[in-house]
Every structure is written in structure tokens, then in C-alpha cells.
């Protein structure tokens, strides 16, 4: 039932584009229907489950315990009805208010907004609630932004403020979920942690209050609401009466049972609310634009609601619930009626309306009724809610002066409310001369009149609201609350205050010209909009400053940062390190020092090298020393791989060196010194780190398993190779994919950007070595013999890799070395081209690897190797997988040689002799 309710609303949204295409602006009527259906479904669901709440859920993220859980109690029902009924009224109204045309985005966004609000109030899961909350933020942003160029800035400001509140809500959600261990709202609200841990409750209360304050435009986050007035009237009516701002009220009421005892919560809500109430009311009284006036009045009324929730007594929460309903009715009616006036008269400015005669009896009466409800005139719902509000404020818990002050401020607000309510009516309809404005068609005024009428009916017979108000107040209070709304309370203090408000308010209305003169020069010294804009500009500036620190293209700046950080971490480790465990066995052999010396020599030479070729050669020395190290550590396969990679790296570098200057630029000591110091620091940190972590434990359980069970499980004796192709084949598949991507990236880069040209070498033409053909005789002859042998060796290494040193990686590198030899033996670049489809090889490698993986599904899982005897030979799919590795690696090596060895562009004429590089430039 609840999902059907949500679905009906969603249907309106999904169908909106089609409907607007067919019927144009009348889509307003069509879209209103599903919302009314949803409202009926909600009521039915509630009636069907009296006593308890209707619930429905479908799993969403089961591993996180997050469900798409809906729950309909009386509080949710009350807000759902506001959202849906007022939404339907506004949609119906806009069918006539909007000009002819489609207005697709308007109807889609409005119905999406209604759906998001509905999800928000129905959500029984914190995550769902948060998602819906953010959805309303986005919908309101888009609705304001679609009102043209003037709407951009206000829309951005609205988004910034409300999204900041969303972050506060996210923080609250995270805290609550971590602390209570559940995301279900109905469960977590009754968790004992709220009373047991005051610090937690206070933190969450403040975060929730900030979220609600931004959404409900409470001081100091109030700037966006009047600002968002640029949106068209139906949007404002919905935003201010039932949707956006009420989301904040709903959040406060929903969490009230858990945090209402937190003193900070009360203080924040009561002060923030009352300050907003007075600021908004004073500002409203100064406005000439009726819509702007209403916007400030919304702020003010929501301030009263917030303060009531802050007071937190059952009576106050009841008053808040009733006033929410009253406000939704009179505010939506007033917004739409001002829209009617605007629509017919062409203006909504009091000063211009004064020069016209509005002959609009229905609109005038309806405006009067709604404004009277806002002012709290008897027989209207606004009176009932105001009476209960005064009574609740009088009973504010705490010292007597608190109650007195709060009530006093509320009375002042009420007087101001009365005054600006009068200002609306007299401002709009007081003109007696000038152009005559006729009444609008019934289709335009029907919706607001119904809203105003509802206020009158509920005001005259407030007991109709009793069950719903009682239920909602009980949910908000956490305890059963009995509500009997009546028009006549007897001669109470609250009634006395109402009379006082009536008298003072009337006086202000009567003397409104004089009041205007007093108020007009008053201006707020700080504009809220300026504050928002200022903080936004400040944020952008801060970003620029922070970006400036790192916004350099100099790689060494970026590269230095992690080095410094790692060194700092090492320093922290040294200073505050815990005692180390004893070393197991003897980690160093005397012969190791020879390797250390070799590496040290290589590194020192690399650092001091002045020419590029020297640097490449001495870095090669460290590579070979590293290979020896691997060999010394018993890593035969690794040592072989390192050796081959070293050879290939040097070959590739040689291809590139001819395109680069011979020497490095000399740098000043001033610039070399920091690099040297940082290098020494980083080296020391590494030594300490490796020393601290080396050999202080026995062999890991995983390694022990591989050593003991590996051969029986896989049939391979080379444990390292079985790890690569049997046990951790998924890793290897990922790695060969990375390899492939690197190869493709090299190809793409060289396709897109021409490499720098080859520099001419200064050769002595008289030397017998100058001719390339003569020069390469020896290598060519050797290659003729050795080439096939290398290929054979490569295949042998591939096949035997499972049992003995070898495997796909090593075999491919040997093969690659063979190609390198072929390349180097060639007398010229064009002759050296190896016409192999290198990219295809890479692709085949990845495909073979993945295909073998899929084959594993035969025996249960991806990449599981299959074994079997074929004609007496032991075979395993792991070998096929290794072939994939082989192909990918060979492909990458070939890519490098083919693309870097050429002088002409990659996409140049194939097979044609390479043009001279000067010509190619």
C-alpha cells in the first residue's frame, strides 16, 4: 500500500513529459490526480492499521542493512497529506496560471519534488531519508534555476545553503548509524544511547538542528528563502507552504523524541526560532512586493514552529503540529491568490496596486480569509493554533522568566503578523481609483479558495483535526498526547494575549502609513545574501590559494611531496615506535655486502652522470645488481625476469636516446642541495623501515600452504609460477591487462603526438664503421643462428614454467629480447621493422587469459585451473593462461620497439622508406 502510494506520485513524475506533450499546460490537472490518489492510499493505509504504523520494505543494500523501508505513522501521514494535497492544489492552479505551452520541466520537477517529499516523510530508514532530503534540495535548486537568468544566482545560493545543511544531516546520519548500529528510524529513536551518552546526543542534536535550519530558512541560514522568490508563483507556493521548508520542520519533529531533552537543542531551537520569527515579521512589514512579503512571513512563521518544537512539551508539539497545518493552508492560499492578483493586474507591488481598482470579489474574500487565519482571527484555524501556541509558550519548562520572555517575543511576532496580514489585504485591494481589474476565471481561483476554505472549516470545527493532531503530536513527543482542539478555551491568559494582539495589530494596520514611514529607513546592516555570496567568494578564493600551492606543472614539486610525507612518517615511527620483535634467523650473509657495494656504486654513478647515455648505463648496473640480489635471495624466476627486463629497458632507452640531447643541463648547487638532502633523508627512512620490518616473523600461513600443498593441488613444482597462474591468477590477469593498457597507451600517445625528431650523429664518413651494412655484418650473422634459438628457448621456457624456472613472463621477455636483437641487427630503421600486429597480440593475450578464466566456470569458479591427462601427458589450463601472459607481454615489447624505432609518423605511409626526419618535421 505504501509503495503504491509512492508509486502513484512517481507515476505523475514519469508520465509528466508525455502528458505535457499531449495536453500542454492542462497537465497540471492530470498530474494532480495521481497525487490525490496517493493521498487517498495513504489515508487508507493508515486506517487499515489503527494503533500501529503501516510498514513496508524491500531490501536495498542488504550487506549494509539498509532497506527501502517505509513507515506511515500519524506524523508521516500528516506531512504526507500536506505534501500531496497542497501539491495537487498547486498543480491544478498552475494549469491555469502558466501560459499556454508545455512547461515539461516544471511539471516533471514539481511532481519529482512531491515524490521526494513523500519519500522523505515516509522513510523509515536513515539512508533513505537522507537521499530524499538531498533530492528535495536538488529539485528546489532546479525549480528556482529554471526561472530564467535572474534565477541562477538565487538558485546557486539556495543550493549552497541547503546542501551545506545536507552535509550536516549526513554527518548526523553517520554518527547515529555507527552509534546505534541500525539505520531504521523507528528503532534508533528508542535506543537507550540517547540518554546514556549526552555528548553524542548533543552532537547529533546540533547537526540535525543545522540541517533543519538551512532547510527551513532559520536564522542564520535564512537568506535563501526570500532570495528564491524569483521562482514562479506555483513553485514559491509549494516551496513555502508544504514542501521544502516543511522538510526541516518534519526532521525536527521526527527526532524530537530522541533529543528533546538535550539543553543545547532547546536553546538552539528556541532562540534561533524566535530570532527568525521577529526578523522575518519586521522584514515582511517593510516589503512592497506582496510575494516577497509572504516569503518573509514564511520565515517568521517557521521561526515560531521551530521555537515550539524547541520548547518540546506535549502541548508545544501539539501546537506545532496544528500550526504546521494552518500555515500550509493559509500560506499556499495566499501565495496563489497573490499570483492571481499578479496574473490579472500585472503587478504585485503594493505601490502600483494602489493605483488600480481591483474588482475581484472572490479573490478579495479568499485573501481576507487566509490573511485572517494568518493573523489569528477567531473562527479560523490560525486562531486555534495561535491560542495553543501562546498556551504552550507560557508553560515553557525552566525558570519563570524564560516562559515570560518567550511568550513576550511570541506576542510581538503575533502583533507584527497581524500587521503584515492586514498589509496584504489592504495593500492589494485598497485601491479605489484607476484601472479596473476584473475577477480571474474560476479555474484560476478555485485551488486557493479551497485552501482558504479548508482553513475556515477546520477553524470553525477544530475537533476534526483532533485524531490526526493527537497522533502526530504523540509521535513527536514520544508519549501519548491527548488533544482536544476547541475554539473557546474560556477566559484564559492566552485569550487575553489574543485580544492584546488584536488591538495592537489593528492599531498598526490603521496607522500603516505612519508605520511605513518609521520602518522604511530601517535597513539591516548585514544582508544575508551578501553573507552567502561573501562566503561563497571566500571559498572560491581559498580554493585558488590552496590550488596555488600545488598548482604547478613542475613535476619535482609534486614528486617531493610524497617523499617528504613518507620521511615524516618514518621520523614519527622512529621517535614513537613500539619495541621491535626479535629477528628470526640470520638475515645477512657476508657476501651480501658485495651486492650492497655494487648497488652503491651504480647509484652514485647514476647520480653523478653528466650524459644521458652514461646515466642509462649505470642505472643498468643497479638493475643487474638487483637481479643478483634476487638470485641471492632464492628468487630464481624473479632474478631472471629482472635480468631480461633490464636488457629490454636499456634497448628501449637506446632507441630514445638518439632523440634527446647528449648532456644533462648543469644545475646550481643551490638547487641540487635540497634534492640531495631530501634524498638522504628518504634513503635513511627506507633503510630504517626495511630494517624494522624485515625477518621479524616466521613464514606466513599462506606461503606455508603454497609450499606444502602447491604441488599436489596444481601439479606444478615451480611454486612461484603456480602462485601466478593457479592460486592468484586473478591478480595476474589484472596485471597483464594493465600491461596491455600501457602498450595501447604508448601506441595512442605516439599516434596523437609526433615524437621529437632524431638528432643527427656526427660520424666520420671515412671510418669503416660508418656504413650500417658493413657495421652490422657480425650481429646479422650471429642473429641468423641465435634468433631461432632464442625463439625456441622462449617457447621451452613457457612450457616448462610450471615445473622449473620459466613461465609466461620470462618466456615472453626472452622472446622480446630476441626481437630486440633482430631490431638491433638491422642495418636501418625501416629494415628493422618487425611486421607483427603488436596490438592484436596484446588483445589476444588478454582474451586468452580471460577465456581461460571463463573456462574455469566448468569446475565452479572464474580462473579455476582444470587439470587432466591427455594421451598420457599431464595438461592444465594454467598453461593456456600462461600463454595469454606470454602474448600480452610480447605484444607490449613489440609495441615499444615498433613504435619507438621508427622515424616517421605512426600513421604515415606504411612500408614507404622513412623520410628524412627534417622532412618529417
Amino acid at each position: 500500500m505504501l509503495f503504491a502510494c509512492l508509486g502513484a506520485s512517481l507515476l505523475a513524475c514519469v508520465a509528466a513529459p508525455v502528458v505535457t506533450r499531449t495536453v500542454g499546460r492542462a497537465a497540471g490537472w492530470v498530474s494532480a490526480l495521481p497525487l490525490l490518489v496517493a493521498a487517498t492510499l495513504a489515508v487508507t493505509a493508515r486506517v487499515a492499521a489503527p494503533g500501529s504504523a503501516a510498514e513496508a520494505r524491500v531490501p536495498w543494500m542488504p550487506t549494509l542493512g539498509v532497506d527501502l523501508a517505509l513507515r506511515l505513522d500519524d506524523l508521516a501521514l500528516l506531512f504526507a497529506l500536506l505534501v500531496l494535497v497542497v501539491g495537487a492544489a498547486v498543480l491544478g492552479y498552475s494549469a491555469r496560471y502558466l501560459g499556454r505551452g508545455r512547461h515539461t520541466s516544471f511539471f516533471v520537477l514539481m511532481t519529482a519534488f512531491a515524490t521526494a517529499m513523500l519519500l522523505l516523510v515516509l522513510a523509515d530508514d536513515l539512508v533513505v531519508l537522507f537521499v530524499a532530503w538531498e533530492a528535495t534540495t536538488l529539485c528546489s535548486f532546479l525549480l528556482i534555476a529554471r526561472s530564467g537568468p535572474a534565477g541562477r544566482e538565487p538558485a546557486v545560493r539556495t543550493l549552497l545553503v541547503t546542501a551545506a545543511g545536507g552535509l550536516a544531516l549526513l554527518a548526523a546520519v553517520a554518527l547515529i548509524v555507527v552509534r546505534t548500529g541500525t539505520t531504521r528510524i523507528s528503532e534508533l529513536l528508542t535506543d537507550p544511547v540517547w540518554t546514556r551518552d549526552p555528548a553524542f546526543a548533543t552532537t547529533v542534536a546540533v547537526l540535525l538542528a543545522v540541517a533543519a535550519f538551512t532547510k527551513s530558512a532559520q536564522f542564520p541560514f535564512h537568506a535563501w528563502l526570500p532570495d528564491s522568490m524569483v521562482a514562479i508563483t506555483p513553485v514559491s507556493a509549494y516551496l513555502h507552504a508544504a514542501a521544502m521548508v516543511k522538510a526541516g520542520v518534519y526532521l525536527l519533529l521526527r527526532f524530537s523524541p530522541a533529543v528533546s531533552d538535550v539543553p543545547t537543542w532547546r536553546l538552539l531551537l528556541v532562540t534561533g526560532g524566535l530570532v527568525t520569527a521577529v526578523i522575518g515579521a519586521v522584514a515582511a512589514l517593510r516589503r512592497h512586493d506582496l510575494k516577497e512579503l509572504l516569503a518573509y512571513s514564511t520565515m517568521s512563521q517557521l521561526g515560531l514552529l521551530t521555537a515550539l518544537i524547541g520548547v518540546g512539551t506535549p502541548a508545544a508539539l501539539t501546537a506545532a503540529v496544528v500550526h504546521t497545518v494552518a500555515h500550509a493552508l493559509f500560506k499556499s492560499a495566499l501565495f496563489m491568490l497573490v499570483g492571481v492578483v499578479d496574473h490579472e493586474a500585472g503587478t504585485r507591488d503594493i505601490r502600483r496596486l494602489r493605483t488600480m481598482r481591483l474588482s475581484m470579489p472572490v479573490t478579495a474574500v479568499a485573501t481576507g480569509t487566509a490573511a485572517a487565519s494568518m493573523a489569528g482571527v477567531p473562527l479560523l484555524l490560525g486562531f486555534v493554533s495561535k491560542e495553543s501556541m501562546f498556551a504552550a509558550f507560557l508553560d515553557t519548562p525552566g525558570p519563570a522568566w524564560v516562559g515570560a520572555t518567550v511568550t513576550g517575543v511570541a506576542v510581538v511576532t503575533a502583533v507584527l503578523t497581524f500587521a503584515y496580514s492586514g498589509r496584504i489585504v489592504f495593500g492589494a485591494f485598497a485601491g479605489r481609483t484607476g484601472r479596473v481589474v476584473r475577477e480571474a476565471p474560476v479555474t484560476l481561483w478555485a485551488a486557493p479558495v479551497l485552501c482558504a476554505l479548508a482553513g475556515l472549516v477546520l477553524g470553525a470545527a477544530p475537533f476534526l483535526l483532533d485524531p490526526l493532531a493527537a497522533g502526530a503530536a504523540s509521535v513527536a513527543a514520544g508519549t501519548p498526547v491527548d488533544v482536544h482542539l476547541v475554539l473557546w478555551h474560556g477566559l484564559t491568559l492566552a485569550l487575553g494575549m489574543s485580544v492584546l494582539v488584536f488591538v495592537l495589530g489593528s492599531t498598526v494596520v490603521v496607522t500603516r502609513r505612519r508605520v511605513d514611514r518609521v520602518l522604511a529607513p530601517l535597513r539591516a546592516t548585514v544582508s544575508g545574501i551578501a553573507v552567502v555570496d561573501g562566503s561563497r567568494a571566500g571559498l572560491v578564493r581559498l580554493g585558488a590559494v590552496v590550488g596555488g600551492w600545488t598548482g604547478t606543472d613542475a613535476p619535482r614539486r609534486h614528486l617531493a611531496v610524497p617523499v617528504v610525507c613518507v620521511t615524516a612518517i618514518a621520523l614519527v615511527g622512529v621517535l614513537g615506535g613500539s619495541p621491535l620483535r626479535p629477528v628470526v634467523g640470520d638475515p645477512s650473509l657476508p657476501l651480501d655486502w658485495l651486492l650492497v657495494a655494487l648497488v652503491a656504486g651504480g647509484v652514485l654513478a647514476a647520480v653523478r652522470a653528466r650524459t644521458r647515455i652514461a646515466a642509462v648505463v649505470v642505472v643498468g648496473v643497479t638493475g643487474f645488481a638487483t637481479a643478483l640480489w634476487f638470485f641471492a635471495l632464492g628468487a630464481v624466476d624473479v632474478a631472471l625476469t629482472q635480468l631480461l627486463v633490464e636488457i629490454l629497458t636499456v634497448c628501449v632507452m637506446v632507441l630514445l636516446l638518439r632523440r634527446l640531447p647528449v648532456r644533462f643541463a648543469a644545475e646550481r648547487v643551490r638547487r641540487r642541495l635540497p634534492a640531495a638532502l631530501l634524498a638522504i633523508a628518504a634513503g635513511t627512512a627506507t633503510t630504517l623501515g626495511v630494517w624494522a620490518f624485515t625477518g621479524r616473523r616466521e613464514m606466513s600461513a599462506a606461503s606455508e600452504y603454497f609450499l606444502r600443498q602447491g604441488e599436489q593441488t596444481t601439479g606444478g613444482a615451480n611454486v612461484v609460477n603456480t602462485i601466478l597462474v593457479d592460486f592468484r591468477a586473478m591478480d595476474t590477469l589484472g596485471e597483464l591487462t594493465v600491461l596491455g593498457v600501457a602498450g595501447v597507451a604508448v601506441a595512442a600517445l605516439l599516434h596523437a603526438r609526433r615524437p621529437v625528431p632524431v638528432r643527427s650523429a656526427r660520424l666520420d664518413d671515412r671510418s669503416p664503421l660508418a656504413d650500417p651494412m658493413d657495421n652490422t655484418v657480425f650481429v646479422r650473422t650471429v642473429t641468423r643462428v641465435v634468433g631461432p634459438l632464442i625463439v625456441l628457448l622462449s617457447l621451452l621456457l613457457l612450457v616448462r614454467g610450471h615445473q622449473e624456472p620459466g613461465g609466461g613472463f620470462i618466456a615472453a621477455l626472452v622472446g622480446g629480447a630476441g626481437f630486440a636483437l633482430l631490431y638491433l641487427a638491422a642495418p636501418s630503421d625501416p629494415a628493422a621493422r618487425i611486421r607483427w600486429p603488436y596490438l592484436l597480440l596484446i588483445g589476444c593475450g588478454v582474451v586468452v587469459g580471460t577465456g581461460t578464466g571463463l573456462l574455469g566456470y566448468v569446475d565452479g569458479s572464474f580462473l579455476k585451473p582444470l587439470h587432466g591427462e591427455v594421451f598420457g601427458m599431464y595438461l592444465t589450463t594454467a598453461l593456456v593462461f600462461d600463454v595469454g601472459v606470454y602474448l600480452a607481454v610480447v605484444g607490449v615489447v613489440l609495441t615499444a620497439f615498433n613504435l619507438l624505432g621508427r622515424q616517421h609518423r605512426v600513421d604515415g605511409p606504411g612500408g614507404a622508406p622513412a623520410p628524412d626526419e627534417v622532412g618529417a618535421r
Binding site: 638475515p587 644521458r612 648543469a666 634534492a675 628518504a682 634513503g683 627506507t686 624485515t694 612461484v720 607481454v889
Partner: protein, 135 residues
Amino acid sequence: MTLAVTAGLLVAGAVYLFLQREMLRVILGFVLLGHAVNLALMAAGGTSRRAAPFGSPEELSAVADPLPQAFVLTAIVIAFSITVFMLVLAVTGREDDTTEDDTTGEVGTGPDRPAGGSDAVPGVGTDPAADGGRR
């Protein structure tokens, strides 16, 4: 201890090299860094057991840990492909292999430098044709 010293030496060299201007030196720095990291990975398996891990040994106390070896093996090949990629970057960028620098007025800061500038220090370059002659 020996392995730790080796890794430290390599890292020191790597850091010094990749804080230089020329892309080739940066790449060589990364090559050294790769060696250092691979050796550190090997160190994670312990350095007191050094027999090659083959077959199903009865006694494990002398056999090297095969798991870091497998990691390092793939790491070497990936480092190779990344090195090739960086080398391509070095030759598709500026002709003189320098990287951007934030200080202006230094030698070789960009293509718009005065025509007389050269990446080789005047008087030291023995091969003017190869160094600046093409410009």
C-alpha cells in the same frame, strides 16, 4: 640489514634523480625506486631463508617465501611497461627533455627562451651538432 641498506641507497638515488629537471632522469629515478620497492617486498618475506621454493620441501626452515617472489615478478614486468610509457612521454614532449619548472629565467625553461640559450653549458658541450646544433 644488507637488504635494508641496499633499499635505502636505491631510494636515495631515486629521490635525487626524480627531483631533477630532465624527464629522463625522472624516469631513471622511478626505475631505481622500482628496484628499491621490489627489494623491500622481498624483505617482507624474510631474508634468512634463501633456498629457491621448488616442489614440496619437507623442511621449510631454509626455503624462501614464495609469495613476495610472485608479487615482485609481476611488479617488475608492470614497472617495465610503465617505464616504456614514461619514456614515450619523454620523447613526445619538448625536444630538450626538460620538464616544466616554476622558476623563470633558469636555463632551458621553455621553447620561448632566447635563441642563444642551450641546455648544454657553454664551453662544456663537446658535441654542438648533437646538443644545440639542430635548433
